[in-house]
Every structure is written in structure tokens, then in C-alpha cells.
């Protein structure tokens, strides 16, 4: 048989390969190619019996039983997959010439010993003759090897264990694999040669798979890793000797240096970090906040285990009938749910259930279900397995958004399943003020919770950005996710405190603690009512300093709510809402209309700052293809998108300018780092102002990049105002991702480094007679208000619900004291110290 070249390149004799495993044919005979292209293709049609976890090697089996190992480069297992992109999976049937693995030739050339790609026949054949070609070869065109062996052209299943059990004894022992990347080609070859010198059959087994020690491909197929515990069994006359020799060979590293790793093979234990909160208190469970709030209640554990589903159907027509009925009932239910929600004005939730309704008629699911019903399965079984298959597929996608939608599909699936199995929701009687504890919760489950009974939710899995989380937030239902194994420590009936704001749950709280929290909650409610009653009064400090308290909004409804709650204007209109979730860019006219509507809500006197589009590689838009970036937060983001695509920015600026006729509109540019960026956009704004005949408009920038804060003196001469985006400023100053589970608690904007940058900005602004606001999360943090005022901040732009509270806070303060406090804060060592300082001051 002829074997095609798997690559373009130069043929290289296997004996010249500078690695004894290949050069001395320890794995078998074959040939090597020095590639000049960068994709490995199949040299014949066959099945991929093994793809190494590091993606640098695979084994292909021909229908005649021949197995060929293809190994890209030397020592490339150490690259751990970097530079390799497999295009196939283990078990795939491939045809000759089909692309198998793409690789980054330059990266591998520079990081591995060689790029030489070996093809080795690893199956055992009698009378095997190999005639290699030489010179230059073309992938999938040139022949690289001519092979003949006894039994070729016959379909020969790979060796089946039909031998008589060998005589002698059987011994076995467990051993831990010390090789850093498990038994890859080289150690496997060494092991095989050790095992061959004994007459006993030596077998290695790991998690249900086993292989003879003499079979290299079998050993590779075990997918051993550092620390894998493998059972070695020897059977035969010299079993004891063979076992001892194999164990010793494995322990010695099979030709690899394992001394450095031999000691650290035990299972990884979770270490206590040197800083930050590590949970040492067994009475506290730590999760991830999905919806804030505080609740005291009794644990009610719900087992998500599925009811029994009969597999066999009672005939096609009956089953199809009951499926259709169940689908119709589910549809009706969703319609009712939707109209209830519409009546309550929960538009975003309506969309979620609209999507669910669509999933009911998804052909991927319904076709598969029908197929199974026709094969005699019950409707419930067929529906359930079709949904499960899709859920698994979605979860497996490398896209967190789609993976997150798996729970939506599961939700729809369960809804229909309940009808099919005639289970009613009513039999789940919840105790009073309970905290629901479960594996994961679906949007449907959460929205139908009886809030007179359920006061909080905690789950083992789930995400803080899931639909369920969004719904819980709108329901004001405390909800934490990601408790993991800690869930085992909870039992139904346990009394707990769920502090979702801090993402923790305290077990068996004392009566005093509970009483304390109850009184805190009561006080908070009283204060909230009091703050609200004076919300429309100005925020003036005791010593007569006036602070503008405005709102961060996303649409016209927010604008109305903000005014209702005493907002004196808008410090940040996020224009993204106009651009998101649609197939095309909003037109200039559409934008003008929407901006005008919001500006009119505010009236002629209240100011409104409209921020230009702030998107980036991390939140791309369908019609604005941004290339995938290795580091989106340092990539094309914020104003950088507009600078690189001025026409889209120009349309937005024109729309804002047109809307500015209706009120006091200001424009704000996000993510400015350098002066030339500001100047370029300012020029564009001036051009459009001239074109539209608009005399003047204030143009300011966000301070989110530390460079902009450090250059605030230069900026202050040219901008009309600054607004500090504390979330991004903190992230960029501390180089800590706020969403990072291990970093989030340390990425605190109260860090003196961040406060210093805010102070610098304010000083620079005032020196040029400009003003500075804060529109990030820190402005809504009442503990930070005093320090911000002390640093010279003139405007606080806060989340709509916190307007009354922040205004009330300002009225309690004395600007002189704030200035002293701020100066002290700047000299402190960390965010905790600043928070401590503020707290102590409050108690005095």
C-alpha cells in the first residue's frame, strides 16, 4: 500500500532523527518529514484512534489494521498544546488528505527541539517491508512510503485478547506516574521494551481502560498524567520479576528526569492564599454574588434529581399525541407567564420567556424526539434525551454565553417533561421564610417562586450573569451561586443568614446575631423612607458646599425614575443600549430620536452627559466585527473603536448634536488615554457642529486609564470636564480584573493609589476652572462619598436607586472635615485601612 505525504516538505530518514525513540526505531519503523507548510493531513483514510492531549501527535488506523503514529516535532509534548490546533477528535473517521492538525511552525521551531514530523508504524505485522521515498514531497499528493506486510488488504481487527490465559501466577500493584506529562511516546516506548523482555503478560490499567505494557499505542491511549495512579498487573511464569522491573522502570522515569516532580504527585490541595480572605470558618460558606441582599431563613434543600422516565412507548400515535399535548400546554403556560410579566412591565424577562417559547419548536430537538418516538421510545424519554443531547452540546461550546443558555434549554425541557409525566408543581410545599438551596435554578423556577415564603436562593452551580441572576435582581431576591461542595454542609431546616452582598452564608447564627440583623434591616428601612422624603432637596454639606447628585442611566425610563428620586440630571447615559442586540447599526435619525426623547424627559435645565459608544472586543456587536483579541481590556475598546472607525462615531456625534437642541447636553468620550485621541475626536465634533450650525457643546472625557489621570493637567486645558470611571480606573491601576473570583475583593476603588489619581484629576481640573465628577461604582458607595468630596469631586453620578441615600449622606458631611479625611486616606497603606478610617470616623 502507498502512504501519502502528510505535509509539504523534505523527506528525512527516520534514522537521522536526533531522538533515540525515533532514530533507533523504538516505536517502530517509519519516515520523517521536515515540513514547509503548517497543517498535517491524513496520509490514508482511517480512524483516529488516539489524539494526544497535547495535540502534537495522533494515531491513525487503516481498515487493514495498520496503525500509524504521526508525531509533529521533537519534545513537543512539553508545549502542552500551545501552537497546535486539532481539527479532528479521537474516534473520527477521516479520509486521505483531510486536514488533521494545524500548527504554528514558527512557534514550535523556536520552542521545541525540532519540527521534524515522524510517521511510525506502531502496529505489529509479519513480513513488514517499508520503502521510503526521498526528496521533496507534497501533502496528500506525493507518496512518502510504500508498505507491504502479510495480511495487508484483509480487514484485520486489532489484536483481540483471545489467548489462553497464561500459566503461572498473577501479581499486581499500584504505582503513581512520575512523568511530568504522563506516559507519552518516549516513556511508553521505553516501558514497552522493558516489558518485552519478559514472557509474562504485563497490563497497565487506569480508570477502566487497560493496555498491554508492550503496546505503545495502547499505553498512549491510557492518557496518563502526572500523578495518575495506574494498576500494573503481570501474569505468567516470571510475573514477579516482570512486575518488579516494570515498576522500577516507571519509578525511574523511563528516560525522563522525574526527580524534581516525584515528590509532588499527591492530589492538589486548596492552599490558603497569603493575602485575602480564605475561608477558615467552618460555619461560613462563600459563594459568588448573583443578586444582592440580606436574608435570614431556614434552608430548604431541593433535590434536582429527575423522576423516573419510562423508556418504552405505547405506540407512535399515542406518544406523538401526548408530546403535542405537552408542548401545547407548555406554550400556553409560557404565554400566561409572558402576559403576566408584560403587565408588570418586566420587559427583559418577557424576552427570556419569548426565547423559551421559540425553543419549544426548535427543529434540532423536535426532529430528534420524533425519531426516537418512531423507534418505539416513550415521548417523555425521547424528549428528555433530545434535550439532554443539546444541553451537553451547548455546555461543550467554547462560548460562555451559549453555554449559559444551556440552562434555558434545560428549563424548557423540564417544563414539557412535567406535562408529559403529569407532575404538578403544587406538591412542592415550601416552608415559611426559607432559603432555597439547590444544584442550579432555572429562570422559570426563580420567577415562579413564592416570595411570601422564599427569602433567598443559594446554588451549587450557576453564574452571576445568568438569566436567573438577572431575574433575581429585579425581584430583589438575595441569590448566591457557585457554592460547590460546600452545599453538602447544609441540611433542610438549618437556620442560616444569607448575606448575598458579601456572597456568604453563615450557618447556625446566634439569636443575638439574628436580632442584630433584624434591627439593622429595620433601621435601614426607616432611613430609606426618610431619605426618600427629602430626595428632591439639594445635596448641600453642613458648611454650605453644594454637590450635584445625578444619575447613571441606560434609557428614558431610567431618566424618569431618576428625576422621581431626586436626580438633578444625568451624569452618564450609556449609549450602548441603542447598539446592542440588533443586526444593524442604529441610523443617525433613530439615534437622534432616542436621544431627544431622553433629553426632553430631563427638560431644559437638567444637564445630561451622553457617553459615546463604549464597546470593545469583550462585548462585540454583530455589525461591528472586532477581531478576537488576546487581551480585550487592553485592546480596541471605548473611543478607540470610534477613532479607528470614524464614520460610525460621526453618525453618533451628529445625532447627539441634533438632540442637544432640546436641553443641556454634554458629550463624554470613554477610555481616553492620550491627548491626541481627544484632539482628533474634538476636531470631528467641531466639524459636525459647524455643519449642523450648533454653536457650542461641552466635551469631556472619562478618566479610566491611569495615563489620563496622570496627564490631567494637560487635558484640563482642553476638555470641558472630567468624569472618573472608578471601576475601570481601579482595574487598570491595580491590574486586577474586578470579575476575577480571586482578585475581586482586592480590586477596591478605595485603594489609596486610585484615590490619589482621583485627587490629581480634581486638582488639575480646578486649576483650569473645570469640574470633575465621578460616575463609577465608587460614587454610589456611601462610605466613599466623604473622601470623594474631600478630594475635590464636584459631581456624583450614581445608580438610580441610590440617589436619595447619597444625597442624604452629603447633607451629613462637613467639607472641611472631608478634606482632612481625604488627605489622611491618601497617606494610608491600603483599601482596608481607608475603609477602617471612614468607619471609625462614623462612630465618633
Amino acid at each position: 500500500m502507498k502512504i501519502l505525504a502528510p505535509l509539504d516538505g523534505i523527506v528525512f530518514p527516520i534514522t537521522d532523527v536526533p531522538d533515540p525513540v525515533f532514530g533507533q526505531k523504538m516505536l517502530g519503523d517509519g519516515i520523517a518529514v521536515d515540513p514547509v507548510n503548517s497543517v498535517l493531513s491524513a496520509p490514508f483514510s482511517g480512524e483516529v484512534t488516539q489524539l494526544h492531549a497535547s495535540h502534537h501527535a495522533l494515531t491513525l488506523r487503516h481498515s487493514n489494521g495498520m496503525e500509524l503514529l504521526m508525531h509533529i516535532g521533537l519534545d513537543t509534548v512539553m508545549l502542552k498544546g500551545e501552537g497546535f490546533k486539532p481539527l479532528i477528535k479521537e474516534g473520527d473517521k477521516v479520509s486521505a488528505g483531510q486536514k488533521l492538525i494545524e500548527f504554528d511552525a514558527d512557534y514550535i521551531a523556536q520552542n521545541a527541539i525540532s519540527l521534524l514530523t515522524m510517521m511510525v508504524i506502531t502496529s505489529q505485522h509479519e513480513e513488514l517491508v517499508i520503502k521510503p521515498e526521498s526528496g521533496t514531497v507534497k501533502a496528500a499528493k506525493s507518496t512518502i512510503l510504500n508498505i507491504s506486510f502479510k495480511g495487508d488488504d484483509q480487514v484485520d481487527e486489532p489484536e483481540v485478547d483471545n489467548q489462553q490465559p497464561a500459566a503461572g501466577i498473577t501479581v499486581s500493584e499500584e504505582i503513581t506516574i512520575p512523568n511530568p506529562v504522563g506516559l507519552h511516546a518516549r516513556p511508553a516506548a521505553m516501558l514497552a521494551s522493558v516489558a518485552r523482555s519478559y514472557s509474562s503478560t504485563v497490563t497497565l490499567s487506569l480508570s477502566g481502560k487497560s493496555s498491554k505494557a508492550t503496546s505503545i499505542t495502547g499505553l498512549l491511549g491510557l492518557n496518563t498524567k502526572l500523578g495518575s495512579v495506574v494498576t500494573v498487573t503481570a501474569q505468567g511464569e516470571d510475573a514477579e520479576k516482570a512486575l518488579a522491573a516494570v515498576l522500577e522502570a516507571i519509578n525511574s522515569g523511563l528516560g525522563e528526569n522525574v526527580s524534581s516532580v516525584a515528590t509532588k504527585v499527591e492530589a492538589p490541595i486548596e492552599e490558603a492564599p497569603l493575602i485575602g480572605q480564605h475561608n477558615t470558618d467552618p460555619m461560613v460558606l462563600i459563594g459568588v454574588k448573583a443578586a444582592g441582599g440580606l436574608a435570614i431563613g431556614e434552608v430548604f434543600k431541593v433535590d434536582n434529581s429527575r423522576p423516573d422516565i419510562p423508556e418504552q412507548g405505547q405506540g407512535d400515535s399515542l406518544e406523538v399525541d401526548s408530546l403535542n399535548k405537552a408542548l401545547a400546554s407548555a406554550r400556553t403556560e409560557l404565554e400566561t407567564l409572558k402576559s403576566d410579566l408584560t403587565a408588570k412591565g418586566h420587559d427583559s424577562q418577557v424576552e427570556i420567556f419569548e426565547a423559551h417559547r421559540g425553543l419549544l419548536s426548535d427543529p434540532e430537538v423536535t426532529d430528534k424526539t420524533m425519531e426516537l418516538i418512531v423507534r418505539g421510545k416513550s415521548a417523555a424519554f425521547s424528549w428528555h434525551s433530545s434535550i439532554a443531547e443539546q444541553v451537553v452540546a451547548l455546555r461543550g461550546l467554547d462560548n460562555p454565553l451559549l453555554a449559559g443558555r444551556a440552562i434555558d434549554l434545560e428549563d424548557v425541557g423540564n417544563r414539557v417533561l412535567k406535562h408529559l409525566l403529569e407532575i404538578s408543581d403544587q406538591d412542592r410545599q415550601l416552608p415559611e421564610s426559607c432559603i432555597l438551596v439547590t444544584c442550579d435554578i432555572t429562570p422559570s423556577d426563580i420567577i415562579t417562586l413564592d416570595l411570601s415564603r422564599v427569602v433567598g436562593v443559594a446554588t451549587r452551580e450557576g453564574g452571576s450573569t445568568s438569566h436567573a441572576a438577572i431575574i433575581a435582581r429585579s425581584m430583589d431576591l438575595p441569590y448566591i451561586v457557585g457554592l460547590g461542595e460546600q452545599l453538602e454542609r447544609l441540611n433542610s431546616g438549618d437556620r442560616v443568614i444569607l448575606d448575598a452582598n458579601k456572597a456568604r452564608m453563615r450557618l447556625q447564627p446566634s439569636d443575638e446575631l439574628i436580632a442584630d440583623i433584624h434591627s439593622q434591616q429595620e433601621q435601614a428601612n426607616v432611613k430609606k423612607a426618610a431619605d426618600l422624603s427629602v430626595a428632591d432637596q439639594p445635596a448641600t454639606t453642613i458648611d454650605g458646599h453644594n454637590v450635584e447628585v445625578v444619575a447613571n442611566i441606560g434609557n428614558a425610563k431610567d431618566a424618569r425614575d431618576a428625576i422621581e428620586l431626586g436626580g438633578e440630571g444625568v451624569g452618564l447615559l450609556r449609549s450602548e443600549f441603542l447598539y446592542m442586540d440588533r443586526a444593524t447599526e442604529p441610523s443617525e435619525d433613530e439615534q437622534t430620536e432616542v436621544y431627544s426623547e431622553i433629553v426632553k424627559v430631563l427638560g431644559p435645565d437638567r444637564p445630561i452627559i451622553i457617553r459615546t459608544l463604549d464597546v470593545g472586543g469583550d462585548k462585540p456587536l454583530q455589525y461591528l466585527p472586532l477581531p478576537e483579541e488576546e487581551n480585550p481590556f487592553l485592546g480596541e475598546r471605548g473611543i478607540r473603536v470610534g477613532i479607528n472607525r470614524p464614520s460610525m462615531l460621526r453618525r453618533q456625534i451628529r445625532a447627539i448634536l441634533k438632540a442637544s437642541k432640546h436641553g443641556r447636553v454634554r458629550i463624554m468620550l470613554p477610555m481616553i488615554a492620550c491627548l491626541n485621541e481627544f484632539r482628533a475626536v474634538k476636531k470631528l465634533v467641531l466639524e459636525e457642529q459647524k455643519d449642523l450650525g450648533i454653536e457650542s457643546i461641552e466635551l469631556g472625557i472619562m478618566i479610566e486609564v491611569p495615563a489620563a489621570a496622570l496627564m490631567a493637567r494637560q487635558f484640563a486645558k482642553e476638555v470641558d470636564f472630567f468624569s472618573v470611571g472608578t471601576n475601570d480606573l481601579t482595574q487598570y491601576t491595580l491590574a486586577m480584573d474586578r470579575g476575577h473570583p480571586k482578585m475581586a475583593s482586592r480590586a477596591d476603588a478605595m485603594n489609596p493609589a486610585v484615590l490619589n489619581l482621583i485627587g490629581l484629576t480634581a486638582e488639575a481640573a480646578h486649576a483650569e476652572g473645570k469640574w470633575v465628577g465621578v460616575c463609577g461604582g465608587l460614587a454610589s458607595d456611601t462610605d466613599a462619598v466623604a473622601i470623594l468630596l474631600g478630594l475635590g469631586v464636584d459631581e456624583l453620578s450614581v445608580s438610580v436607586p441610590s440617589i436619595p441615600e447619597v444625597k442624604a449622606k452629603v447633607r451629613e458631611l462637613n467639607l472641611k472635615d472631608c478634606q482632612t479625611l481625604a488627605q489622611n486616606a491618601l497617606t494610608l497603606d491600603g483599601a482596608e485601612d481607608v475603609r477602617e478610617l471612614v468607619k471609625n470616623r462614623g462612630e465618633k
Partner: protein, 109 residues
């Protein structure tokens, strides 16, 4: 050297055609037309970095990209080449990569 060639820094014609035969300790030898390789790669001032890599390759990094050098490179003595991008090339020399790399480097000083 004539006046004009001194003025414009031109080399004498016979020097540009030199063929370097690189001696290998083993019997095998490789003949590389180093001058031709360097001129294909945009001249010696265009070569930012040159090294042996991956055992069989000479990796050349250029300052400014050159067009594909395919047709002519095959006549220089290398077994083959791979264009990673306009600025990075791998020149394949089998077991003689070190020798070929040294020969090219010698031409750059």
C-alpha cells in the same frame, strides 16, 4: 577600486558571485550561495536576526518584508524554505543547518 565604486560603496563584481562551500566534519557537505540568499532577503542591512532553530533550520528575521522568494531560493543550495510571513523565513538545511547559518552569518559582518 575605481572612483565611482568607492563613492557609491559598490563592491567589485567578482566578489558578489562567490560560492561558499561549507565543510562538514562528516562526509556530507552543503553548498550555499550565501550572497544570493542575502540578496534575495533584501541585502545584509535588511537582516535583523539569524539563528539556527529546530535542529534543521536557519531562521531569518528581516527588518522590512520581502516578497515571496520562492523561485530563486531553490537555486541557493537550501533543501527548501518556509515563509512564516514576509519578515520571517525558515531555510531548511537538514543536518547542515548550523554550518549554513555560520556561513550566512560570516557574510553579514
Amino acid at each position: 577600486m575605481g572612483f565611482f565604486s568607492k563613492l557609491f560603496g559598490k563592491n567589485e563584481p567578482e566578489q558578489t558571485q562567490s560560492i561558499d562551500t561549507v565543510a562538514q566534519p562528516a562526509a556530507a557537505q552543503i553548498s550555499i550561495d550565501t550572497a544570493k540568499v542575502i540578496s534575495l532577503l533584501g541585502g545584509k542591512d535588511n537582516i535583523a536576526n539569524i539563528k539556527t532553530t529546530a535542529y534543521t533550520r536557519v531562521r531569518v528575521e528581516l527588518k522590512t518584508a520581502v516578497a515571496d522568494i520562492a523561485p530563486s531560493l531553490s537555486e541557493t543550495g537550501f533543501d527548501g524554505y518556509m515563509m512564516i510571513n514576509g519578515k520571517v523565513f525558515h531555510l531548511l538545511a537538514g543536518l547542515h543547518a548550523d554550518a549554513a547559518c555560520d556561513a550566512l552569518k560570516a557574510k553579514l559582518v
